[in-house]
Symmetry: D3
Subunit: 244 residues, 6 copies
C-alpha cells in the first residue's frame, strides 16, 4: 500500500534571506539527505526589513553592505541544509511584484522542473512581503503550466505545493494540515540557524517552535518518537490510490 | 521515500443503510482488494428516512418490513464491496444518540481496532442524522483512546479518519482535501449501487458524481488516468517523514 | 420574466413569545396583507428569560402568571399582524428539545403545509434557546419530508426557509442575504410592537433596526423608496428559471 | 406576489475566450431567448493560457494566430447563444490590470447600462486571471456608479451581479446560492460548447457539470423537472417586496 | 488593576474626505477631549466618488472645484473634532497605490509617531478604495517598524490599530470586537456631521448607526448608560497584564 | 485614560481536574496575587479520560481511587495558585450535560457573582468534553442573567468571559485575541504544574507553550519584557470609554 515517488526535485521560494531556514530548514535537510535536489530561490535578501541587527550594529550601514552579509549567511545556511541557493533580488519592504517578475519566476520553475514546492502562506498582514511572495508564486505556477507562455521553454509538470508556517499562525488564519517529522535532522537545522551570528533570539524561538510542532504532531499521529516538526498547509488537495 | 503501511483495518461508520455505498463504496473496494479487513457499521437502516421507494411502493408498509429489505440490500452491497457488515439499529429520522450509544461504539472500535476510519462530515443541516453520526463518532473515538473508559478492553491505537462527501457539498461547508482514485474499482462500485432495485436515480447521480470527482482529481494532480474518484476531508492533519 | 407563486402558506417558528414581532413582524404583515395564511408557532412563551419586566414588576410573580400575560400579548400581536398563533409550550431558558419535540413539530409542519418558513438563525451563543429552536426546526423539516416518519400523515412538500436576524448579528456570524422592504407595513409592525406595555425599550430598538436595515437595503438595491426593512438569511440556495 | 422585471440588459464579463460558454452559456441562452440584450465582454482571448490544444496542435504557433482562431470561436459561440461579443484584449496569463483598464471598463458599463451582470468569482488561486477579472469588475462597478468619474457619460444605475462557478468550486471557497435551471436550453449550450473543435474534453466535463448542478438544484428546490443547471453566487444581497 | 496609558498620539487614516467623520468622529473627539494629539490623514478628498451632491448640484463641476469644497469641509470637521488634518491627495475611484505611496506613508507614520491608529477594514468589495487604503496602511506599518527602510528617520514604535466599520458591515465580513462609548461626545460628532451642507442623508444614517451600536454595546456590556457607540475591529490581539 | 476595575471576582470553569492549571494557571495566579477572589469549578475530575498515568500505573485501578487522587492533586494545585476549588463531578468521557446541570451551574454563578469567567473554547472535536463544557457554560450564563430562572436567587450581573487555549489551537479554529503576560507568576504556574507527579510530560509541554505564547505576545505588543504568556479568546466584544 505504499506509493514510491523516488527523489523529487524540491524548490523553496523564500521572500527574504533566511525565511527558508526558520520555516522549513528541517524539511529541506530531510529531502536533501534522502537524495533530492533542493533549490532555494530568495526573492530578496530581506535587506531592509529582516536585518535589524545589522542596521543597528553597523554604523551608517548601506543596503549594499547589508545585502552582502545576508548573501553570505544565506549561502552558508543553504550549504548546511544541502541545497543550492539562487537570489532574485526583487527588493523588500515592500516587496511589490509585476508582470516581469512573474515571467522571471516562470522561467525558474521551468528550468528546475520541481515536483514539490515550499513557499509562503497566502495571508499575513503583519509581514505583507510574505503574501506578496505567495501570490507571485501562484501566478507564476499557473503561467508555467500552460503552453502559450514562453512557448520555447519546457512546460512545468504536476507539482505539489506546501505553504510553511508564518510567525503568528492563528493571526494569519494559517491552519496546518501537514506536519513533517524533523527529529532526525534537528541538529542540521540548528546548525543552519546559527549562521546569522546576531540572531540568538530567532534560534531560541525556532528551536522552541519545532518542539511545539513536534508535540502537536506527536499528539495528532500517536507517534511518540516525534520530538520536532515543521508545519505546512497543502496548496491543493491530496490525490492518490490510497489515503496517506 | 515511500511509507509502507501494510494492510490497515478499515472501519466505515455509516448513518443509514446505503450511505456507505454512495459515498465511499469505491474506496472500500480498493482497500478490500488490497487485502485490508473492511468492516461497515450501520448505525441505522435508514428505514424511515432513506427508504422512500419502499414506503411508496408497498401498501401499508411497516418499519419492520422496510428494515428487513434494507438489511438484505446492505448485506448484498457489503459483500460485493468485500466488507463485513454490522448493524447497530439506533433508529433514524431523527437519529438522536446518548451516552449508551457512545459506549457501545467505543466497544466496537476497541474490538475491531481500525487504523483507518471513514465516516460522515460534521456539518449537514439538510440531513441532520449525518452530523449526528459524525459527533457520535468523535465522542466515541476520544473515549476509545483513553484508558479509564471500559478499562477491561484493549485501548484503541492511533487512527486516521476521513469524512466522506455529503450530498450537497458546498452547502454543508465540505471542502475536500483528499481524493481517492477509484477508476480501477468503478465497476464494483456500480454493481454495489444496483442492489437497491428501485434506486436507478441514485445510481445515475453517484456514477456522475464519481466522474465529476475524477475530473477534479485529475486536474488537481495532473494525472490524466484518473476517471473516477471519491472525495474526503481529513479529520486530523497528516503527519509523516515526507510529504504525501 | 416574472415567476408568480400565488399566496404561499407562511409558517413562523419563534422560540419565545414575541420574537416573531421584533424579528419578522413586518414580513408577516406583508404576506398576510397579500392574502397568505400566516401561522406562528411559539415554542415557548419566553416566560423565564424574556419577560424581565414582568418578573421585576409583579411581586412574587409565578411562571403561570407570566405565561398568561405573555399568551395574551402574543395573541394580540398575532392578530394585529394578521396571523394565527399556536403555542407549543416547551419551556424556555433553557429550551432543551428531544425526539418527541421533533415529532410534534413534524406533525405541525405536515398539518399546515407551509411553502415559506421563517425561523431563528443557527448560531447565537448569547441566547442559546434561539439556535436550539433552529436545530429543532431543521431536524423536524427533514423528518417531515420523508415518507417513513408518521406514515399516516401527508408528507411535507418543497419549502423555502429564511432565518431572521439575531439581536447581535455580527457576533452570531449572521450575514443577511435577503432584505424584505417593510416600508408599507411599518405602521402595523409598530402597532404590534406596542402590545407589551412595558417594552418601550424594545420598541425603540426595533424601530431603529428597521430603519438601519432599510438604509442597507436601499443602498444595496439602489431603491430609494425603501425606508424600513427586515434582514434574513436563506437556509438553502435559490433555484429558478431566472435570477431574482 | 410576482415581481416582473421586463427583459433586463445582461452583461457577461469573461476573463478568457470561452469562459462564458462553460460557466454561464445556458443562462445567456435563457435570457437571450426571453428577449434580453446580452453582451459578452472578453477581457482577453485566453490566447496564452487556455488554448493548449492550439499551441500543441499548430507547429510554431504564434500568439496572433491563436488569437485569430479564438476570436472566431468566441464569435461563433456568442452567436449560438444569442449574444453580442466585445473583445478588450488585455492579455492573459498573467492578466494584470491597471487604472486605465478600470476606466475602460467603466465606459463599457455606462455605454451598455446592464441590469444584470455575470462574472467570475473573487477567489481562485489555481487560475489567478479569474479573480483578477473579478476585482477589475468590482472596482469598475463602483466607479461607474458615482458621478465624478468620467462625468460626461451617463452614470450606471442599480445592477444585480452573479458570480459564476470556478472549475474547482470547493477549493476556491465558492458556495453557490443561486441555481438557474437551464434544462430547456441545454441543447443550445451543448451546441455552443462544440465551436472549439479540439475541446471534446471540456464538452464532456461541462455537460456532466450541468447535470450535477441540475441534480443539486432539483434536490434543493424539490423540482424534479430540473435536469441541468448552472450555479452562481450573488455579489450583493437580494432585496424585494417578498422572498424569491 | 488599571493600566494607565497617558494620552496616546492618535492617527486616523481615511481614504476619502469625510470617512473619518462618519466612522470614528466620536472616538476622535473622545481622545482629543482627553488630551491626545489626534491627526487625520486623508489619502484623497473623495472628489470623484464621494461627492455626488456636488457633482449633481454644480453645473459643469470640475475636479478642482470639488476638491476645494471638500478640503474646506474636511478642515471644518477636523477642527470641530479637535484634530489636525493632512491631505495626501492620491486620487480616488479608483484609489490605486504604489511603492512610492507606501514610502510616503512610512514617512508620515515616523514623523507623527502614533500609538493608536484608526483606519479602514481590509474587506469591502462595494467600496474598493477602502480596502486599498487598509492594504496601503499595513504595508506602510510594517515598513515603518523595520530599521532598513528610510534609515535616517526615527523608527516607529509599538502601535495599536483599530479598523472602523464599513457602510455594510456583514456584507464585508466585518465582525466588531471593540465598541467605544461616544455618548458624552455625540453632540460634537453631530456637529461635525453637519459641515457638509447637502448631506442631511448621511447625518440621519450615521446618527442612527451610532444609536444602533450604542444598543449593541449596552447589551454586550450590561452598561445601560451607553446610548451611542462606534464599532471597531482590532488589527492585532490585545496584550496586557490583566484582561480589559 | 485608565479604567480601574478594582479586584474582580474570577470564576474558572474547567471540564477536567487539571485543565485549569495547564490552560490558565498563570492568569489565575495573577488575579489571585492582585487581590481577587478566584474560584475554580471542576465539572469533572477527568477520572476516566485525563488520568492515563494513574490507570496505567495502578493495578486494577477503580474510578473511585482515581477520583480520590485527582481530587487531591486539584486541591493542591488550586492552593498553589491561590484559588478555591469546587468539584461538581458530572462524569467525563463523555461529559454529557442536561437541564439539571445547567440549573446547577446557574446557582453557582449566582452564588459567586463573578465579573470575569475563564472557560473552554466552543470547538474541539479531539476532546469533546471541552466544547460540551463551553456549551453548558453559555447556556447557564444566559439563564443566570434573566430574572425568571430560579427567581429567589440574586441575578448575575455583567460578566466578561475569556476562553482559554485548547491543546491544538489551529485544529480547533481557536484564534486568540487576548494574551496575558504571566512572566512574573511563571514560577507559581510551574509549581502548580508539578502536583501531578507522573505528568512531567505535560510540565514540559506547557512550559514551552507559555514561552511560545510569550514570544507571540511580545511580537504583537512590541513589549520585550514578556517571556511567558497565556492565550485567550474573548467571548463577547470589548466595550469601553477608550481602547484597551
Amino acid at each position: 500500500m505504499s506509493e514510491n515517488k523516488g527523489n523529487p526535485n524540491v524548490l523553496v521560494i523564500s521572500a527574504h534571506a533566511l525565511d527558508f531556514v526558520w520555516r522549513c530548514g528541517g524539511t529541506i535537510a530531510k529531502y536533501s539527505n534522502a537524495g533530492s535536489n533542493v533549490r532555494i530561490i530568495n526573492l530578496t535578501l530581506g535587506e531592509r526589513g529582516e536585518s535589524g541587527d545589522l542596521w543597528n550594529g553597523i554604523e551608517n550601514a548601506t543596503e549594499e553592505q547589508v545585502k552582502e552579509i545576508r548573501t553570505d549567511e544565506a549561502n552558508k545556511a543553504s550549504e548546511i541544509l544541502g541545497a543550492e541557493l539562487k537570489i532574485m533580488d526583487m527588493g523588500d519592504h515592500p516587496l511589490i511584484t509585476d508582470k516581469e517578475n512573474i515571467i522571471d519566476l516562470v522561467k525558474e520553475l521551468r528550468e528546475f522542473q520541481p515536483e514539490i514546492i515550499l513557499t509562503h502562506f497566502t495571508g499575513d498582514p503583519l509581514n505583507p512581503d510574505h503574501p506578496e511572495a505567495a501570490k507571485l508564486f501562484y501566478k507564476a505556477l499557473r503561467a508555467a503550466q500552460v503552453p502559450g507562455v514562453e512557448p520555447d521553454t519546457k512546460i512545468l509538470g504536476p507539482v505539489k505545493t506546501f505553504m510553511f508556517e508564518p510567525d503568528q499562525p492563528e493571526f494569519c488564519g494559517f491552519n496546518p494540515d501537514a506536519f513533517i517529522d524533523i527529529t532526525d535532522v534537528m541538529e542540521i537545522k540548528e546548525k543552519a540557524m546559527t549562521v546569522s551570528e546576531s540572531q540568538k533570539y530567532m534560534f531560541d524561538n525556532y528551536s522552541r517552535r519545532a518542539a511545539y510542532r513536534g508535540y502537536i504532531a506527536s499528539r495528532v499521529s500517536g507517534n511518540k518518537e516525534i520530538k520536532n516538526a515543521e508545519a505546512f498547509k497543502r496548496f491543493a488537495p491530496y490525490t492518490g490510490q490510497f489515503f496517506s
